[in-house]
């Protein structure tokens, strides 16, 4: 039944709230992430910072790697597929991963269409830069939305832009008259029924997480204070000096995001953060966030 399927999918997303989901490339990193308190791990071939540096086509991680990760941790295991690559998604579902990220971090497989996520039993998370994009993905069946930010940059500015954009547009919808919603749906490029739902409820119909450029405990707490319900940390952990300590610190700051004293504690005694790239200095054609339609 369609209704029970989406409830089970968003239900798992509910369980991940208030936590940190960490990118890992092998079983030993997955174990470090789980020990540090990650609520889930994201299995991928290379972290975004390396994809950026090394170039080439970025694809779904090898099933062998993912299976090794699934064997060592008891928290949910997520994995990424290329935008529109529904067969990679079928493979991951057959493998038994708990969540699929249809991600702009990998090289897109389809320049017009995303995966029809209603066809799957496994839940999907998708990136969005604004409310229209978020609602298009939800219309296709996504059970969880995250900001795109700019993955692999270590620069939080884009995640902040996307969070503010989504949350600001939601607030605007709530004060609009019923007769204004169709024109707004057209402007957003979003399904009308979903626009009405958001206008009525004042929130997305699925959880709303942050991703893309989070490198420090303060970055994580910033996203949470701006309205994100959980954070994804990609290159920020395993590209830093002491991944285990940084992972624990980001987890702590995310739980206590409203308490500056705890965020201070979490920020102390950390090694160097990932060096990072100023998003303004990245060539337009190298931006990952513009992938997705």
């Amino acid at each position: 039944m369609a209704d029970s399927s989406i409830r089970l999918k968003t239900g798992l997303a509910e369980m991940l709230k208030g936590g940190v989901i960490m990118d890992v490339t092998d079983a030993s990193q997955a174990k470090i992430a789980e020990d540090a308190g990650a609520v889930a791990v994201m299995a991928l071939e290379r972290v975004p910072a390396d994809i950026r540096k090394e170039g080439g086509v970025a694809r779904m991680a090898s099933p062998k790697k993912i299976r090794e990760i699934m064997q060592v941790v008891s928290v949910p295991v997520m994995a990424k597929v290329r935008i529109g690559h529904f067969v990679e998604a079928q493979v991951l579902e057959a493998l038994g991963v708990d969540f699929i990220d249809e991600s702009e971090v990998l090289t897109p497989a389809d320049e017009e269409h995303h995966v029809d996520k209603h066809q799957f039993k496994v839940p999907f998370v998708c990136g969005a830069r604004d409310l229209g994009e978020a609602l298009r993905r939800i219309g296709e069946g996504a059970a969880l939305i995250r900001t795109k930010g700019e993955a692999g940059s270590g620069d939080i500015v884009e995640a902040v832009r996307h969070l503010r954009s989504v949350c600001g547009s939601i607030r605007r919808l709530t004060i609009m008259g019923e007769e204004e919603l169709m024109a707004e749906a057209k402007r957003l490029g979003a399904p009308y029924e979903l626009v009405r739902m958001v206008a009525r409820d004042g929130k997305l119909p699925v959880p709303n997480f942050a991703a893309g450029g989070i490198a420090t405990p303060a970055d994580a707490a910033l996203c949470m204070q701006l309205g994100a319900e959980t954070v994804f940390v990609g290159s920020g952990i395993f590209k830093s000096e002491d991944p285990a300590a940084r992972a624990r610190a980001i987890v702590k700051a995310t739980t206590h995001f409203k308490d500056p004293k705890v965020v201070l504690e979490a920020s102390e005694e950390l090694g160097e953060a990932m060096r990072g790239l100023d998003v303004q200095k990245i060539a337009k054609e190298e931006l990952l966030q513009t992938r997705g339609w």
Binding site: S4, R7, L8, G11, L12, E14, M15, L16, K17, G18, G19, E34, D35, G37, A38, V39, A40, S74, V75, P76, E93, G96, V97, D98, F99, K121, V122, P123, V251, K252, T255, H256
Partner: protein, 212 residues
């Protein structure tokens, strides 16, 4: 159902991680304000606490890191009412398997983690026979654990395919499913009754037979 705000009952939801907001909404619909709990000192004022669904390994680490484990156990043993769903049930159990992990030992059950499989095996079931009265219970199981053993002090209030899914021992209540993700408020109502300080049902310790 009672819509009155009861000053006698102050209910907290452990908000370290998980679906604490869904539990708070269920309590709000019953006219009860829910307090988000992130520190040991915040326990003192409460008459009842809900440990939500989420990741039990993560929550265990948080409890340890926050120095909350011992105060929480002490608070429950001092008479605080406790309700755990899914991961909350895993934390409360006396014994946990698959994998074996530390437990708070607050209810005499053995729990097997992820017993039904991974997320693709999550499902919505139904309990026709149960002790709450009225319609069947809708059971939302998400990467759910299974209660594989219950001690003789534990009362089974609902079963699914023979396995206990809702159990009670004194003022402690555990479910392996998620009523907070449904419209059904009966289990939260039951818990509010258990958390009322003057409740005569608070000492409802004797084992009983269960339907189903």
């Amino acid at each position: 159902m009672s819509k009155q705000i009861d000053s006698n009952r102050r209910i907290g939801v452990l908000a370290l991680q998980g679906d604490f907001a869904a539990h708070a909404r269920a309590l709000n619909r019953l006219g009860v304000e829910a307090v988000e709990i992130r520190t040991a000192s915040a326990l003192e004022e409460l008459s009842g606490l809900i440990i939500p669904g989420g990741e039990s390994t993560t929550m265990l680490k948080f409890l340890e890191a926050e120095g909350m484990t011992a105060p929480l156990i002490e608070w429950v043993k001092g008479g605080g009412a406790l309700y755990g769903t899914c991961a909350g049930t895993i934390l409360m159990a006396n014994r946990v398997t698959h994998p074996v992990q530390p437990a708070l030992r607050l209810i005499d059950i053995t729990v097997e983690r992820n017993a039904y499989g991974r997320q693709v095996d999550s499902f919505i079931g139904r309990a026709d026979g149960h002790d709450l009265g009225g319609d069947p219970l809708e059971l939302v199981f998400i990467r759910a654990p299974r209660i594989v053993e219950v001690g003789k002090e534990v009362v089974v209030l609902a079963r699914y395919e023979g396995d206990p899914v809702l159990v009670r021992q004194g003022r402690r209540l555990s479910s392996t499913f998620h009523p907070e993700l449904t419209q059904d408020l009966r289990i939260h109502e039951l818990f509010l009754g258990m958390a009322a300080r003057d409740s005569t049902s608070a000492r409802h310790d004797s084992p009983r037979r269960v339907a189903g």
